[in-house]
């Protein structure tokens, strides 16, 4: 696991690379910076709070989620005490045993899919949520599974 896929020269690998996230973080320290005219219209203050959670990390989260992954909170909303209230809302929304699809969380939080997916990935990296992908490969051609779905569907 060295870094063969990183094309940059060693000189560019500073521990805190320039990034959108660290810029957003920086604006957190100066409230006036958020209110600058010309900021993106979608509630910049809320954005800042959401992205502040990533600690200015620029690497993609270790956990890769997709729109059809089911997310279940691993801790209660109170367990996320230090987190922004928006994230406590996500944890409350995904309370076990049910959980919610990434797409549904994005819709309810009014956040687009890609940023929602990245941010949930970050929560997964921190152990705050569990995640389950949709049925894959062999499971989708398992006749018994398909027949169970069919029979249940026929009764609705």
């Amino acid at each position: 696991m060295s870094e063969p896929e990183r094309p940059e020269s060693p000189a560019s690998q500073s521990p805190e690379p320039e990034s959108e996230v660290s810029e957003v973080e920086a604006s957190e320290t100066g409230p006036s910076a958020r209110e600058t005219p010309g900021e993106p219209r979608r509630g910049s203050r809320r954005r800042t709070r959401l992205y502040a959670l990533t600690d200015g990390r620029t690497a993609a989260p270790h956990t890769v989620l997709t729109m059809d992954t089911t997310i279940t909170a691993a801790v209660g909303a109170e367990g996320g005490g230090g987190l922004p209230t928006e994230w406590q809302a996500v944890l409350a929304m995904c309370a076990p045993p049910g959980g919610l699809a990434v797409a549904e969380i994005a819709a309810r939080m009014r956040i687009r899919l890609t940023p929602m997916t990245l941010l949930l990935g970050e929560l997964a990296d921190r152990g705050l949520i569990h995640h389950q992908p949709p049925l894959q490969g062999a499971e989708t051609t398992n006749v018994h599974m398909l027949m169970r779905i069919r029979d249940n569907l026929a009764r609705i």
Partner: protein, 199 residues
């Protein structure tokens, strides 16, 4: 590549249901949103995504707008089938198919698709049919009866669509009727079961 550890055993241990993804596609105005709403157990939801012309899900963290980027909206609905231990996730594909055709995440992991057609404008659903045929995703066709009756038979519609597999089911339906929406899903499951049996 970031690690993808996928299945989380702690979730299965909690007895959680497995997600199953089904796409609802078809041309502009064919009834995709209506069908998702009809079958879903929750109020209709829309999920937005930003795509470039290359189809990559590029979302900015900084709000920079670009002409090469467009926002598409998908319908989302779900139906829990507790006895089967699954929850169906229904994704109504966005209308701008030139974008979603290149959007691999939409297709990946899907069990199958429902392609809706309006027989007055059948050509609008050709791209969806072509797409699923070329990607090998099983699908069934639902012909919406917008005026309460359908002047064509299922066979005629199937022939006009030039379906690669003539056995592809074609159903006449009213996307607003729950039994019709259920029947088209049942037809998809029957198709999947027969191809799993044959394999």
């Amino acid at each position: 590549m970031p690690g993808y550890d996928g299945f989380d055993p702690s979730v299965a241990a909690a007895g959680q249901v497995s997600p199953v993804k089904i796409l609802v596609a078809g041309g502009f105005g064919v009834g995709k949103t209506t069908l998702v709403e009809t079958i879903s157990e929750i109020e209709p939801l829309r999920t937005e995504e930003r795509l470039t012309a290359a189809g990559v899900g590029v979302d900015d963290l900084d709000g920079i707008e670009s002409k090469a980027v467009t926002t598409v909206a998908m319908d989302f609905g779900r139906l829990t089938l507790a006895d089967a231990g699954v929850v169906l996730y229904l994704f109504g594909t966005p209308g701008q198919e030139r974008f979603w055709f290149m959007w691999d995440d939409l297709l990946s992991g899907a069990l199958g698709a429902l392609v809706l057609v309006d027989t007055r404008r059948l050509d609008r659903s050709f791209p969806a049919v072509d797409f699923f045929e070329s990607r090998g995703l099983p699908f069934v066709v639902g012909a919406n009866c917008f005026h309460g009756e359908q002047p064509y038979t299922a066979e005629e519609i199937g022939a006009a669509l030039h379906l690669r597999d003539p056995q592809t089911p074609v159903l006449l339906l009213d996307a607003r009727a729950r039994t019709d929406a259920r029947d088209v899903l049942l037809a998809l499951l029957d198709l999947l079961i027969s191809s799993a049996d044959a394999a």
